[in-house]
C-alpha cells in the first residue's frame, strides 16, 4: 500500500496532487489527537476507490496502546467511513465519526493482534475518490 502511494506519486502530477491532498486532510483529521498526546506515524496508506468500494488496511496493534485511525479525502462532497475490525471480523472500535472530508475511528485493543481498518466510499460525486489514512497511538 505504501509502495503504491509512492508509485502513484511518481506517475503523474495530477495523481500526486490528489493523493497529497487526501493525505493533508488525513493529517488534519489527526491533529486534535496530537494535541491529546498521540504520536502520528509518518507512514500513510492511500489510493482511490469507486462508490461503495471498500479497502482494508491490516495493522498489528498492541494491547496497552490506544489508536486513532484518521481518514481524509480530496473530493468535496464525498462521504467516506473508516471502521476497525479484529482478526475474526468483529467490530472492535471504541468510537468512530465522520464529518465532511474526514473520518476517524478509535480502538483500544482488548488483545494484541491483527486488526483491519476498513475504508468505504459511501457516496461521492466522482467516479473514483482519492483517500489516505494515517494512524496515531499513545
Amino acid at each position: 500500500m505504501k509502495k503504491s502511494l509512492i508509485l502513484l506519486a511518481l506517475l503523474a502530477i495530477p495523481v500526486y496532487a490528489y493523493v497529497n491532498d487526501a493525505l493533508s486532510f488525513a493529517h488534519e483529521a489527526a491533529l486534535p489527537y496530537v494535541k491529546k498526546g498521540f504520536s502520528v506515524r509518518e507512514d500513510a496508506w492511500g489510493g482511490d476507490l469507486g462508490v461503495k468500494d471498500q479497502q482494508a488496511v491490516t495493522a498489528q496493534l498492541f494491547k496497552g496502546n490506544e489508536y486513532w485511525f484518521c481518514l481524509g479525502t480530496d473530493v468535496r462532497g464525498a462521504v467516506l467511513t473508516i471502521h476497525i475490525y479484529d482478526s475474526k471480523g468483529k467490530l472492535a472500535e471504541a468510537e468512530s465519526w465522520q464529518k465532511g472530508r474526514f473520518a476517524g475511528a478509535r480502538v483500544v485493543p482488548a488483545k494484541t493482534g491483527t486488526y483491519y481498518a476498513i475504508i468505504t466510499v459511501e457516496k461521492s460525486p466522482e467516479e473514483r475518490t482519492g483517500w489516505a489514512v494515517v494512524y496515531a497511538y499513545k
Binding site: I6, R41, Q54, T58, T81, H83, G113
Partner: protein
C-alpha cells in the same frame, strides 16, 4: 418494558451512528471477501508503538540491555540493511536508557550505514536532529526521530528500487526489538508483557517477503536463510489465536533464537 423498546433501539442506533453521515458500521464483516494482498500485507509497527506499551508495564533496566558494540559493516548489502535495522532498534533502547552519549553514537552510525546503501541523503537531517535532541535530553522527540529515520531510509530505498533490501531493514529492527522485548519479559514475566509477542500475521508477512525475494542472490544469502529459519521456528511458539497465553519458556526460546540471529547479523565475517 415494551414501552421502552423504541427508546432502547433509538439509543443503540445513536451509539452506532457516525455523528454527521448517518452511516452505520456492521457489527461483523467477512474478511475473506477482501483481496488476499489487502488483508495479508500487514502494516509493520514502528518500534515506538511497542516501547509505548513497555513504558506502561514498568521500569526495566534498559541500560543493561544495550549492546557494547553496534556491529561490523561488512559491505555486503543484505548485511548492511539488516544491521541498519538493528542499529535503529538500538537507538530506541538507548532512548529508554536515557543514554545521550549512546544515542549520539547510534545517530552517527545510522548515517554511516545509510551511506553504505546509498541513502545517506535521506537521513542527514534526522541524524543531526537525533544528536541535538539527545544532547537536550528530549527523549520523546528523539524516539520520534528514530521512527522517522526508519521511515526515511525505507522510503529512499524503495525509491531506488531496493524494496527487498528495505524489507531487510524492517526485519533487522524487528529481530533486535524482539530480542530485547523477550529479554525484558523473561526477567519479569507477566502474561500482558508476553502478549506483546503475539504477532502471527506480521511473522507470516516477513516470511512471505523472504520466500518471494526476486533477487536470487539475496534469497540465498546466509543471513537471509538463517532469518527464515528463525521466523519459522518462532511462529508456533506465539500461539494460534488472539489472547493465547505465551508461556515463560516460549519467551526464553524466542529470546535465544533472536539473540543468535542478531549476533549473526552484527558479527558476520566480511564476504
Amino acid at each position: 418494558m415494551t414501552k421502552n423498546i423504541p427508546l432502547i433501539l433509538a439509543l443503540i442506533c445513536l451509539a452506532r451512528l457516525s455523528p454527521c453521515s448517518g452511516q452505520t458500521a456492521p457489527e461483523s464483516i467477512d474478511l475473506s471477501k477482501f483481496p488476499g494482498a489487502e488483508v495479508e500485507d500487514v502494516v509493520v509497527p514502528v518500534p515506538s508503538e511497542i516501547f509505548s506499551v513497555l513504558d506502561k508495564l514498568g521500569s526495566p533496566n534498559w541500560r543493561s540491555e544495550l549492546r557494547g558494540s553496534l556491529g561490523k559493516n561488512t559491505g555486503n548489502r543484505a548485511q548492511v540493511a539488516l544491521l541498519l535495522g538493528t542499529v535503529i532498534a538500538e537507538g530506541f533502547i538507548a532512548v529508554e536508557a536515557e543514554d545521550s552519549g549512546k544515542v549520539q553514537e547510534i545517530g552517527r552510525e545510522v548515517l554511516v550505514l545509510a551511506e553504505a546503501i546509498n541513502v545517506r541523503k535521506a537521513v542527514i537531517a534526522r541524524s543531526k536532529s537525533i544528536t541535538e535532541k539527545a544532547d537536550a535530553k528530549e527523549w520523546k522527540a528523539v524516539r520520534k526521530e528514530f521512527d522517522g529515520a526508519l521511515h526515511d531510509v525505507r522510503g529512499a530505498m524503495e525509491e531506488l528500487g531496493d524494496d527487498e533490501l528495505a524489507q531487510l531493514v524492517s526485519i533487522g529492527g524487528w529481530l533486535r526489538g524482539t530480542e530485547v522485548l523477550t529479554s525484558i519479559v523473561s526477567k519479569n514475566y507477566t502474561p500482558d508483557g508476553a502478549e506483546l509477542l503475539y504477532q502471527p500475521q506480521l511473522i507470516d508477512y516477513f516470511n512471505r517477503k523472504l520466500d518471494s525475494l526476486k533477487n536470487t542472490r539475496l534469497g540465498k544469502d546466509d543471513l537471509v536463510v538463517k532469518i527464515r529459519k528463525t521466523l519459522a521456528a518462532i511462529r508456533p511458539l506465539i500461539g494460534k489465536d488472539d489472547g493465547t497465553k505465551i508461556p515463560p519458556d516460549a519467551v526464553q526460546r524466542i529470546n535465544k533464537m533472536t539473540s543468535e540471529t542478531v549476533a549473526a547479523i552484527t558479527s558476520r565475517k566480511e564476504s
